[in-house]
């Protein structure tokens, strides 16, 4: 698997505060990574760092062999980084279809394919962003990131706050996206048991440091460490 992303000894944070310490990992093209940890351990900060939304202190971040640190935040989406933030950030005054087409870039993901994957969005294509339920907004946020035709998709707690029925449907769709092999995916979640079976690699953060980096399968079997790092209910 060709290498897409490499972080080496990355330190980053907000203002003077250092949140991430000595983060290192590699991700291949079409690879998948579960980014795990309890609340406040630095998961979202790591995604924000990849998107250029934090203060980078030191280390190396290489994307497709080029230095990502020098690429401004607005240029990272153009490089193929698609971000679905926790806040979803959909455009409330645009219709569903406008939300999708306004960000579209050429590639295998186009409107028809998006509607095949999310039939609910096709039904709601003429509705405004602010007329959607929470589950529909999450689907739209994911669909919009796919319309960018990313090489690396970053999903930040996409299941948070959603009812179990919608969670199951989104998990199925995320599983399909991961297994399509068309992009690499970094998936942030607190509920390890739901995403470890979907991903190849896992990274566990504790207080901004990596405490586990390895195969998802290995972590999934290690119930003691799952309990220790993520709490009871992680498996």
């Amino acid at each position: 698997m060709a290498e897409l992303l490499e972080l080496e000894n990355v330190w980053a944070g907000y203002g003077d505060a250092v949140i991430l310490e000595a983060i290192s990992f590699k991700l291949g093209e079409a690879d998948s990574l579960a980014l795990l940890g309890r609340n406040g351990m630095g998961k979202t900060t790591l995604l924000s760092t990849l998107m250029g939304a934090t203060r980078f202190k030191s280390g190396r971040m290489r994307y497709q062999g080029q230095d990502l640190v020098v690429v401004p935040a607005h240029g990272r989406a153009q490089l193929g980084l698609g971000w679905v933030p926790q806040e979803r950030d959909i455009f409330p005054s645009l219709t569903v279809e406008e939300n999708l087409t306004v960000v579209a870039r050429p590639g295998p993901w186009h409107l028809k394919r998006i509607y095949d994957l999310f039939p609910r969005l096709e039904e709601r294509r003429a509705n405004m962003g602010n007329q959607l339920s929470g589950g529909e907004q999450q689907m739209l946020a994911m669909a919009r990131a796919l319309m960018v035709n990313p090489k690396l998709l970053l999903l930040d707690e996409p299941l948070e706050g959603l009812a179990p029925l919608i969670v199951q449907e989104l998990l199925r769709i995320i599983g399909q996206t991961v297994s399509s092999g068309e992009m690499a995916v970094i998936l942030v979640e607190q509920h390890a048991h739901q995403i470890l079976p979907l991903t190849r690699q896992a990274l566990v953060l504790e207080r901004g440091r990596v405490v586990f980096s390895g195969a998802s399968e290995t972590l999934r079997k290690d119930r003691t460490q799952l309990d220790k790092w993520l709490g009871v209910g992680a498996h």
Binding site: R120, G134, E136, A163, P164, L165, R172, H193, P197
Partner: protein, 190 residues
């Protein structure tokens, strides 16, 4: 132990539909939601078909026999769970008949249907819980690597809880998600 992932996954899918059923029936009872028989039928169809065609056969044919042969302690528990599989099926058929009656007579049929839903949900929560809390930890404890390899192979050859043999359960689950009113599903709030 792919088997345990599959069982967890199927339990979550079933639990999600059961939770949505409780919500929908509660809203109808409260008068805040108009009955949608397409939705109720889809839900009852899912909780009838997926356990019977997908979930229970794997447990009954692969996991339970192997576990029974490895642990005398498991035998009593498995007997209880097997009885629950049969009782659960009978309850589902009763629920289905009550739904058909409700659909044919209209609002007058709701009380009989409603009276079956809560015991059905309680029964299933208890059953799922017993498998999660007692069965799976026991299986982890007593089954060998070789046992798991063989059971995993048999489980992997079976249908997944969303796809079914020809994708029918995936479509059914998707319809339930789309029709169930928000915030439990993606349908318009009652």
């Amino acid at each position: 132990m792919k088997t345990i992932d599959i069982i967890h996954d199927e339990h979550r899918a079933l639990a999600a539909v059961l939770q949505a059923l409780r919500f929908v029936v509660g809203e109808i009872r409260a008068g805040t939601l108009q009955v949608d028989f397409r939705l109720l039928t889809a839900m009852v169809d899912y909780i009838t078909q997926v356990p019977e065609k997908v979930h229970h056969p794997k447990e009954d044919h692969y996991l339970f026999p192997r576990l029974r042969s490895r642990s005398p302690k498991a035998a009593a528990l498995i007997e209880i769970l097997e009885d629950q599989h049969i009782a659960g099926y009978c309850m589902t058929i009763d629920l289905l008949q009550a739904l058909i009656h409700y659909q044919s007579v209209g609002a007058a049929g709701f009380a009989a249907f409603d009276a079956l839903v809560q015991p059905y949900l309680d029964f299933n929560w208890q059953h799922l819980n017993q498998e999660e809390v007692e069965l799976l930890p026991l299986a982890r404890e007593v089954l060998s690597e070789q046992d798991w390899t063989e059971i995993d192979t048999a489980f992997a050859a079976n249908f997944d809880p969303y796809a079914g043999a020809e994708g029918e359960f995936k479509e059914l689950f998707g319809r339930i998600v789309n029709m169930t009113p928000a915030p439990y599903g993606l349908g318009p709030a009652g």
